[in-house]
């Protein structure tokens, strides 16, 4: 499996998620291609995050949450993966930077390997440097790798979380509002990172920020009240959407 093939990385068919019997997303049919950046937009509570978390089996942790329908990830049914196997291929970045607070910067970057029981220190240095360079953090932290991760600024912490995810070498990276807790400059740094890495990875970004979706994504999917309203090239969604609802949302008439 080469990473550059232009074929679907993620396909969902009739995907439903319910919490306590209440549907959060209903009948989502989506095809997300490899090496593209897909933005998922929509007002609060429309099921964006719920959709994203279904893609790396994160709902398994939530009691009384039920996921039905078909998800195909990298040409394989999601049910054929264990959680561990899947999440090594499908990484996730969260809204609030969540570095491990009692680990150093270095230990955070290699935590995915270390906690999975790979103990080769020489390999660690290589992985850490590559991942930190990829997330544009290397120059800022190369002299202080042993310092605690929480000594970094919020924006740096988020890029550290990206480095930590990149270090595991996933194919797909899910991002749940990755910049909503960051200042504009940190946001720009993260966006640059995504832009630069999109030839190697498949990104799916949930965002509240429509300018962000317009800036960095190739494809945009608009969710409303748990349903997929429209999906298409970002240019089309923002300039000439098929649905009236989409047009109203991207032009700021509601949200």
């Amino acid at each position: 499996m080469t990473k550059t093939e232009k074929k679907p990385g993620i396909v969902t068919r009739n995907l439903n998620v319910t919490f306590n019997g209440v549907p959060a997303i209903e009948n989502i049919d989506l095809e997300l291609h490899r090496n593209t950046v897909t933005a998922v937009i929509g007002p609060s509570g429309c099921g964006k995050s719920t959709f994203l978390r279904a893609l790396n089996l994160m709902h398994d942790m939530t009691p009384k949450c039920k996921v039905t329908g078909q998800i195909t990830i990298l040409d394989k049914e999601i049910t054929e993966y264990t959680g561990v196997e899947l999440r090594k291929r499908v990484g996730m970045i969260f809204q609030k930077p969540n570095p491990f607070p009692d680990m150093s910067i270095f230990d955070n970057v290699i935590s995915g390997w270390k906690l999975s029981g790979m103990h080769n220190k020489k390999f660690y240095n290589e992985i850490a440097e590559k991942a930190l360079r990829n997330s544009d953090l290397w120059d800022e932290v190369k002299d202080r790798l042993k310092e605690p991760a929480i000594s970094l600024s919020g924006g740096q912490q988020q890029r550290l979380c990206i480095a930590r995810t990149l270090a595991v070498e996933p194919y797909i990276i899910l991002m749940d509002e990755p910049t909503s807790a960051l200042d504009p400059i940190s946001t720009q740094n993260v966006e640059n990172t995504i832009y630069r890495l999109k030839s190697e990875y498949t990104f799916i970004i949930v965002t509240h920020n429509m300018q962000q979706a317009a800036r960095i994504s190739d494809v945009t999917a608009f969710f409303y009240l748990g349903k997929l309203v429209e999906v298409g090239s970002t240019r089309k969604i923002f300039t000439n959407p098929d649905e009236k609802l989409t047009e109203d949302y991207v032009s700021g008439k509601f949200g």
Partner: protein, 290 residues
């Protein structure tokens, strides 16, 4: 709205000020009542115990009545052994059941366990002693260090279970998710991320449980029993500081009374030092998180 449109009378205001002062002074008096016994006990046992404390107290066996000198060496070592056995039983069971309740069990089952551990915490320790007497001493047909250690271990379990659970709950969900999202397995996340983050709090709980168990007399009376000599094995009766204090204190001999005070001083110092360590650990914890 103008200020004088609020109706108030000077008499009402005076009354409120008086009630306020009264309540505040009651609070101050209560706070003093809380700490006075501790200060009194501390100074009294120090005064009475320190005079009969010498090197022999830590190295010698108890002497028979009438003979001068002697010490509590066997009781000090005995207490350490009993705490050791209690810890070997209480710490792993306490931590693991706490982890189960916090991370894995269904809500209903978790609530049942929480309720029962609360009840267990409230059960008088002498009843635990009787229980262990029934399950270990009677079948073995003798008092033993093992039985005493088991009794202390059972006493420690509910405290450690609850504190483990509470500390696990304080670890943010986002850390678990961060670890799982990296493809780390659930049990590894629990051990390497959640337990590690919660560890200083859990150690605090363990130390407090040990401090409590170290001073227990009642559950040891029918289990470890006591011993005037070195006990050679875990299935023999063993001496402990609290039981030794008890035996000396109810004796009619002045010399033994002094020994009891010295023992009490050692016990209080032990609890004091453990609490001090707890303070240091928790302070570091807060410095780290802020």
């Amino acid at each position: 709205m103008e200020l004088n449109s609020i109706t108030y009378s000077k008499a009402k205001l005076r009354r409120r000020k008086f009630v306020n002062a009264l309540m505040l002074s009651l609070c101050v008096v209560s706070a003093l009542i809380t700490i006075i016994p501790l200060i009194y006990i501390f100074f009294y046992t120090t005064g009475a115990g320190l005079s009969s404390l010498n090197l022999d107290f830590f190295t010698e066996l108890p002497k028979p009545v009438g003979e001068e000198g002697g010490g509590m060496a066997n009781a000090i070592v005995g207490t350490l052994i009993l705490i050791g056995i209690g810890s070997v039983i209480g710490i792993p069971i306490g931590i693991m059941s706490g982890i189960y309740v916090a991370e894995y069990s269904k809500q209903l089952f978790a609530n049942i366990i929480k309720f029962l551990t609360d009840v267990l915490t409230g059960i008088p320790s002498i009843i635990i002693g009787i229980f262990v007497y029934g399950i270990i001493v009677l079948p073995m047909k003798k008092f033993s260090a093992l039985a005493g250690g088991v009794a202390l271990g059972i006493l420690m379990i509910p405290t450690i279970t609850r504190i483990t659970e509470e500390m696990f709950k304080l670890v943010p969900m986002s850390l678990r998710e961060a670890s799982l999202a990296l493809g780390v397995s659930r049990w590894r996340t629990t051990v390497s991320i959640v337990l590690r983050t919660a560890l200083s709090g859990i150690i605090t709980g363990i130390l407090l449980a040990i401090a409590r168990a170290a001073g227990e007399t009642a559950p040891l009376l029918f289990t470890a029993f006591g011993n005037s000599f070195w006990s050679s094995s875990l299935d023999e009766p063993i001496s402990s500081i609290p039981v030794q204090i008890f035996n000396y204190a109810i004796s009619p001999y002045e010399e033994w009374h002094n020994k009891a005070w010295a023992g009490a001083f050692i016990l209080i110092s032990l609890v004091f030092v453990i609490n001090l360590i707890v303070r240091i650990i928790t302070r570091q914890k807060y410095e780290n998180t802020v």
